[in-house]
């Protein structure tokens, strides 16, 4: 059974921007998209080792919602965690955390 942690209200999130949440000891980057979907991935940037992914720019590649690392600009799918542009390095995917909105509250689970 998935254990959900309520991290904040949807209204606390700006569209197309991320925040960091602590979910069962994990640092998680939680993003609200322009269409109010909420997606979450690991906060640690695998290329720099710094906990910064929530501060990356949110955008799209084709139909896929993306985030770009603010550090060295690798791009990932926010939906699957797949690395879409590793910037010439070996690709490292992200861990995706299940996230949903329930009655205006943002819920995130550990994978």
């Amino acid at each position: 059974m998935t254990r959900w942690t309520a991290v904040c209200a949807l209204a606390d999130l700006d569209p197309e921007r991320g925040v960091t949440a602590l979910v069962e000891g994990h640092q998680v980057a939680v993003f609200r998209l322009a269409d109010d979907r909420v997606l979450a991935v690991q906060q640690k940037d695998p290329y720099s080792g710094a906990n910064v992914l929530s501060r990356g720019i949110v955008g799209s590649a084709g139909d896929v919602a993306t985030v770009t690392s603010p550090m060295y600009k690798q791009v990932w799918s926010l939906e699957s965690g797949t690395c879409l542009d590793p910037g010439g390095k070996p690709a490292h995917d992200l861990v995706v955390f299940p996230a949903r909105v329930d009655d205006g509250r943002v819920l995130v689970a550990a994978p």
């Binding site: 904040c8 606390d12 700006d14 925040v19 990356g56 590649a61 603010p70 550090m71 010439g88 490292h92």
Partner: protein
């Protein structure tokens, strides 16, 4: 199995060249029914040994892995952590240490080299290492950390061997906090690759970096401390040096034991003998990489090994490729010093001419060797500034195209070779890619960007030094092929920045959603969002953190601070004209002390404080703003600083008040967003102490007023600014600078600084003068208005952020844990201040505490 199929292939050794071979096999025969097993004794996925020293700077070993998708091919099996102990050529099997027997139809030896250590007494003491594998690096790091803790003081390190790897290792030991000495048997550093002059120049540079160099010295004995660990090294010169950690980097030897014991032919100096097909003396066995001896030599570089891998992959399918060694160059890396050479370094070719430029002030030594008629390039040596290496090395053995001295002239009189290098010239020696293959990637494989060409050819993916030349060739080929080099900014906007700027201005658009709805598609990306943010800001659309703009900003603009490597930020208040009162200095000092910020005078006459956590930024800025300071926009694509000299106020040669003008310009343009950052300099006389001609706008006082120069640059491609107008009075100067900046903001490309913008301006500086100074196009008033609006609308970004609780929400570390902050941050002390700790170092999560740590590196 058909006669031409390689059947069951086994590779012994899972290093760089084995990886290349597997990759080649896969791409050459996408459908073939061969099976490949690669067996390596290191416990990791095959990794990029060339960048081993990155581990010392905190990189994770996993990040060094070479493209892992190769191992996902169902026909390929990778076995790691298993050593092959026996090769039975009659039975066609190899057997590993654990007893695993692997039969083969085709065997490839790719066992590489081992690090050779001389038989010096004491090399088996704890604390003595070699430098070849990830395991070596991890062992050195662990030793450095624990030994320093045991001894309770910084370590002294000694590297034996002053070649490229030795110097790299020395820099790494230094990085671990050890004072480091390099001991070299020859009379100079990099004695194989550098001549006397180059070796001497390198010694000066390495010594200046704090590494002690002892040449003409050999390690004769290592002595132990009471607890049995290494403590001293006796040298052949009679000296004894302290040595708490020792790294031997004294050369490599091919790993040819399997071949030897199974009776394959072995070269005189070791290595498995191969011919041009890379077959050994047994037709079923091949050897590639550093373990293969071709014409009596094993080469310790990755490029020839990759070439061999390509040859065998081709031969196995009946292909024609054979191995011809390409002349190699060597470039020092990871040592914080530039040194490179190629070809006939010592000028030994009969009649060879050497043109040398040694500049003791710039600390550079550069030599070009040419044939007796001064036409053909035979070699080169570059120390201190190796920028010519990448462009000249591919021309080895070919016409140089200009007088050699022109290349060495300080201003770089001869143009660097551009996009027209001949097809057969190897552009990327690491991946062995010729100019022809790069062009074919564009013309035959449809690549349209440098990134695609890199992915398709692998050029530029190893050491990266060929990328500038690669870019020129790709661009030239696209243009020649009549392919319009795409002007699209990214997948969301099909036009370049300047066009978008005009569209946004004419349409009066004020938000990203409006802009993308009118002129783009999708939801933007890291390229176009900051561009739109900058355009909107230049057009006065309001604070960068207004709700509609905030999501567009890169993290730097989003939190009004510059991201550092560990995820913290820098704080750089504006110091107009470099003038600062003691009262403000005091506040800066208090803030830095209280928050444990690392503090330094920056390269631009102001003070930078580094290491502020995102959640600390508001509190820090509250103090600074209360003391009358404001944002220095060190994070924005906007005005940085206006550098000035002391000028006529104090200086006996000053003819105008350069500080006063510097302050006036800085207060005028502060916060003005532009396609890239820009910098201004003001000097009080032609002696130019403010180095104004190295700035985007350089103002130099004359008896009659001011001369203004534009398009200067330091940075990656330095350029002197060009004279735009002379003898202007104060107001006229400001007007000309206003117009220059406004015109640049409206028409430059994304991330194009003024230097390339001026250089590419149609009609050059003369035309720019007509447009800006003489107002020949009649756009002067409109340009003036852009800056006037900016000046009227200016407000300090930090002050307005602090006044707005909504904006302050962005600075919390965790949305669901107020007051908590990133527990992974860790600091250590260096020269009395805190800096991010590297793995293995003594560290504390609070930089205030870390600054006072007893240092155990």
């Amino acid at each position: 199995m058909s006669p031409s199929s390689p059947g069951r292939i086994v590779v012994v050794g899972a290093g760089m060249v084995a990886h290349r071979f597997a990759d080649q096999l896969r791409s050459r025969s996408a459908e073939g029914d061969w099976r490949l097993t690669v067996i390596g004794d290191e416990p990791l996925l095959p990794y990029d040994r060339v960048h081993l020293s990155d581990l010392f700077t905190g990189k994770d070993a996993a990040a060094l892995a070479l493209e892992p998708s190769v191992w996902a091919d169902p026909r390929i099996t990778l076995v790691t952590g298993e050593r092959v102990e026996r090769l039975d050529r009659d039975a066609r099997t190899v057997t590993t240490a654990t007893g695993r027997v692997e039969p083969y139809d085709t065997l490839v030896l790719a066992t590489g080299s081992w690090a050779w250590t001389p038989r010096t007494e004491g090399t088996d003491l704890p604390g003595v290492f070699s430098y070849r594998t990830v395991a070596d690096v991890v062992a050195v790091q662990e030793w450095a950390a624990t030994r320093a803790a045991e001894l309770g003081r910084p370590l002294t390190g000694v590297v034996v061997g002053g070649g490229v790897l030795g110097l790299e290792a020395a820099a790494a030991l230094q990085g671990l906090g050890a004072t480091t000495t390099v001991v070299e048997f020859a009379d100079r550093l990099m004695n194989v690759q550098l001549d006397d002059g180059g070796g001497e120049a390198l010694r000066v540079l390495v010594t200046a970096n704090g590494v002690e160099v002892r040449t003409a010295a050999a390690a004769v004995r290592l002595g132990a401390a009471d607890d049995g660990a290494v403590a001293t090294m006796d040298l052949s010169t009679g000296a004894t040096v302290p040595a708490d950690v020792v790294v031997f980097s004294t050369g490599i030897r091919p790993r040819d034991r399997l071949a030897r014991e199974s009776g394959l032919a072995i070269g005189e100096r070791g290595g498995v003998v191969v011919g041009r097909t890379c077959r050994t003396s047994d037709p079923a066995v091949w050897a590639i990489g550093e373990c293969a001896s071709f014409e009596g030599e094993c080469v310790g570089l990755v490029a020839p090994g990759n070439l061999m891998a390509d040859v065998v992959a081709s031969q196995l399918f009946g292909g024609p490729r054979t191995y011809t060694p390409a002349p190699e160059g060597t470039r020092l890396k990871g040592a914080g010093v530039e040194a490179a050479s190629f070809g006939d370094v010592f000028g030994l070719t009969p009649g060879a001419l050497e043109v040398t430029l040694a500049d003791p002030v710039a600390r550079t030594y550069r030599k070009i060797v040419v044939s007796d008629d001064a036409r053909t390039l035979l070699g080169g040596v570059f120390v201190g500034d190796a920028s010519l290496y990448a462009s000249l090395r591919p021309l080895l053995g070919r016409p140089l195209g200009a007088d050699p001295s022109a290349f060495l002239a300080p201003e770089g009189g001869a143009p660097a070779p551009g996009g027209d290098v001949p097809d057969d010239v190897v552009v990327c020696s690491c991946a062995n890619v010729s100019a022809g293959s790069v062009r074919a990637a564009v013309t035959e494989h449809g690549c349209t960007t440098v990134g695609e060409v890199k992915a398709c050819t692998k050029a530029g993916t190893v050491c990266g030094s060929c990328v500038p030349l690669l870019t020129k060739i790709v661009t030239a080929t696209l243009e020649d092929a009549g392919i319009t080099v795409s002007r699209a900014m990214c997948e969301h906007f099909a036009m370049p920045r300047a066009e978008l700027f005009a569209l946004v201005r004419e349409g009066g658009l004020r938000t990203f959603s409006e802009v993308v709805a009118a002129h783009g598609t999708g939801r933007g990306c890291v390229i176009c969002k900051p561009v739109v943010a900058s355009i909107l800001s230049s057009l006065g659309a309001g604070h960068v953190l207004e709700p509609e703009h905030a999501a567009l900003q890169d993290t730097n603009d989003h939190v009004l601070a510059n991201l550092q490597k560990d995820g913290t930020y820098s704080v750089v208040p504006r110091v107009p004209g470099g003038e600062i009162t003691p009262e403000k200095l005091l506040v800066i000092a208090q803030v830095a002390q209280e928050f444990g910020l690392y503090t330094r005078i920056t390269g631009a006459q102001r003070i930078g404080m580094f290491g502020a956590r995102i959640d600390q930024l508001p509190a820090i800025w509250r103090r600074l703003v209360d003391a009358g300071m404001e944002s220095g926009q060190a994070y924005g694509k906007s005005l940085r600083a206006v550098k000035s000299c002391v000028g006529s106020a104090w200086c006996r040669f000053g003819v105008q008040d350069s500080v006063g003008m510097g302050v006036r310009l800085e207060l005028r343009y502060r916060g003005l967003r532009a396609p890239h950052k820009f910098k201004v300099g003001v000097s009080g006389c032609a002696r130019e102490c403010a180095e104004a001609r190295g700035k985007d706008v350089g103002v130099i006082a004359t008896e009659k007023g001011w001369n203004v120069y534009v398009g200067g640059n330091g940075g990656f491609t330095p350029r002197h600014a060009e004279l735009l107008a002379e003898d202007l009075d104060d107001d006229r100067l400001v007007q000309v600078v206003d117009r220059f900046l406004a015109h640049y903001i409206q028409t430059a490309d994304r991330l194009q600084r003024t230097a390339p913008w001026v250089a590419d301006y149609p009609g050059g500086i003369e035309e720019l003068r007509r447009v800006l100074v003489e107002d020949a196009l009649g756009i002067g008033a409109q340009l003036d208005a852009l800056v006037a609006d900016h000046v009227d609308g200016y407000a300090d970004e930090w002050r307005s952020t602090l006044e707005d609780p909504d904006k302050l929400r962005r600075f919390q570390a965790f949305v669901n844990a107020p007051g908590e902050h990133d527990p992974d941050l860790a600091y250590t002390a260096e020269r009395g201040q805190a800096r991010p700790a590297r793995p293995g170092e003594t560290a504390h999560h609070d930089p205030v505490v870390a600054r006072t740590l007893e240092i155990v590196p």
